[in-house]
Amino acid sequence: MSRADIILLASVALLLFLLPAISSEFFISQIATRVLILGIIALSLAFLAQEIGIISLAQVMIAGIAGYAIALMSQNSAGLGVEMPLVVAVVGAILAAGLAGILMGIVAQRSTGIYAIMITLATSVAFTLFARQNYQIFNGFDGLAGITAPTLGSIQLSETYHFYFLCVIGSLAVLMFTLYLRKTPLGLAFQALRDDRQRLAALGFRPQRTVVVAFGLVGLIAGVGGILLTWFNTRIAPTSIGLDVTLDVLIVAIIGGIGHPIGAFIGALVFVLLETFASDLIDRDRFNTLIGAVFLIVILLSPGGLIGFGRRVVERIPMLQTIVDFITRTKREE
């Protein structure tokens, strides 16, 4: 991690841990917690897009697979699955998401650009339809309900503030994971893959295997988000992973900007704030028009999302740039 990243991460952590002291319970449970969960799932999309240049619309499906996995390994209303010890269930669910990511990667390994978008979208919709029809494992349309966050010793994780802190820890963990990954040789291989697939192959790497590994790793991130989402809603059903949710996550990732992992969380913040307070701006039923319009405007005016926009603002104003340079003590690379 670079110095700038450490400073950023530390200030985000400080802000998130202090947030309950200065905000209402409504804000914590209905906004902050949802922002973090949505941000984690969007990060898995944004990170893949940023590092290997592939937009995957399968990330919500993969998060959903972790959700179904944790539900099947916990007590649930449908009485399906086998109850497992907490550690086994959580690790198992994250690994299930990783495996789903690997499988998705194998299917999409030779595809890039719009082809990858179409293939991951088709896969995701097909999985949702399948889960809706299957009653032996997924309990069809109703899905699996009654899944509460567990109790650790005397700490009830389902309690609003405890669950919020759990989400904070989860978010910081995946942020650190992505920032660390970027600097490893594997992360560099990802970027080489994005920049020039053929040259990477000429250097002796196997680009397709690198794609599969990348899909597997971001699958783990989506898995963390999926478990938290399922605990938050206390249920997982085909509607939790439907096309509209997939598009929401895409919107979040693009609005935030895929230049830096923190963008996913900024996008999630904008999205949840709009969703919560849309009724003040526009007819509640027309939220999709509003968010679609915001999405459209961001793509048209600022392809780098809000992060790109922020960067350009900083660059335009010399004083801000000096302050940023001073804090991060980096010399500008031009």
């Binding site: 650009g113 719009i114 097909a126």
Partner: protein, 289 residues
């Protein structure tokens, strides 16, 4: 055995619908390398407008014309307002079309509500005809649907292979810049292609509303069908779209009858199988991505 044949016919008539839906999508991609994720919205718009006009005028033909025309116009608007301005970035164009489809779905829901609409059949197409050999009665509209799809396919082929516009389109597929340098109006050509793709989408909507019914969500259903059809058949190839549609339509209907729960899985396995063997689709060209 009779069941098998009837299911096969059902599969083929569904394939016919999918082909009409996918052909416009594939055409636009083939010429402009634009994946128009709002294609499903154009289909639904065509169906809604056709319903309104058919109700108002009492004529199915007028409704069908209006539906196709409305979708063509919407397609042209998409090209002029958005795609034209960002010719460079394919991912960006795709994202814009997704944004448009979200807004369009919501606005159409606001205007037409969540009801299911069905276009009344022209009296000529009502009822059923007895099939020779099998001794069963089969809905006329489904037979007509298959004929219509063949007509669309042959028409497109003639247009692309035999007319001047077709020559321009093919030249545009191969080398846009050269075509532009030779003094042809590439912008106008693109608008024409989008109008044609939109009209095909609108017509698919009309047909879907007549043979089946349409409601919010139909847009996604047909977008997904079009996606899988062209992934299997190969982007930009009309013949590929036909083969892809037949594969998907048949597998869906066989799945529905012989393994009701898992019909979607068959479709999906076909897609994965094709991708594994030929990432560019059965009839696609080599340049994936």
């Amino acid at each position: 055995m009779t069941l098998f044949f009837v299911v096969t016919l059902n599969g083929l008539s569904l394939a016919a619908l999918y082909f009409i839906a996918a052909s416009g999508f594939s055409l636009v991609f083939g010429v402009m390398r634009v994946v128009n994720m709002a294609h499903g919205s154009l289909i639904l718009l065509g169906a809604y407008v056709a319903f309104d006009i058919a109700e108002w005028s009492g004529s199915w033909v007028l409704g069908a014309l209006a539906g196709s025309l409305a979708a063509a116009l919407a397609g042209v608007l998409l090209q002029v307002l958005f795609f034209n301005r960002m010719a460079g970035s394919k991912d960006q164009q795709t994202l814009v079309s997704i944004a448009v489809s979200i807004i369009a779905a919501d606005l159409m829901l606001a205007h037409w509500g969540g009801l299911t609409y069905q276009l009344n059949l022209p009296s000529l197409l009502e009822g059923s005809i007895g099939l020779p050999l099998l001794g069963v009665n089969y809905a006329k509209i489904r037979i007509v649907l298959i004929v219509a799809a063949i007509a669309v396919g042959v028409g497109l082929w003639l247009l692309i292979a035999k007319t001047n516009l077709g020559r321009l389109i093919r030249a545009g597929v191969d080398d846009q810049e050269m075509l532009h340098a030779l003094g042809f109006n590439v912008k106008g050509l693109f608008i024409a292609v989008f109008a044609l793709g939109g009209a095909l989408a609108g017509f698919a909507g009309v047909v879907a509303a007549t043979a089946l019914s349409v409601a919010p969500g139909t847009d996604v259903q047909f977008l997904l069908a079009a996606l899988i059809v062209v992934i299997v058949g190969g982007m930009g190839s009309i013949g590929g779209a036909a083969i892809g549609a037949i594969l998907v339509g048949l597998s869906e209907q066989y799945g529905l009858v012989y393994a009701p729960t898992y019909g979607i899985v068959f479709t999906f396995i076909i897609m994965i199988g094709v991708l594994g063997l030929r990432p560019q689709g059965l009839f696609g060209r080599g340049d994936v991505g």
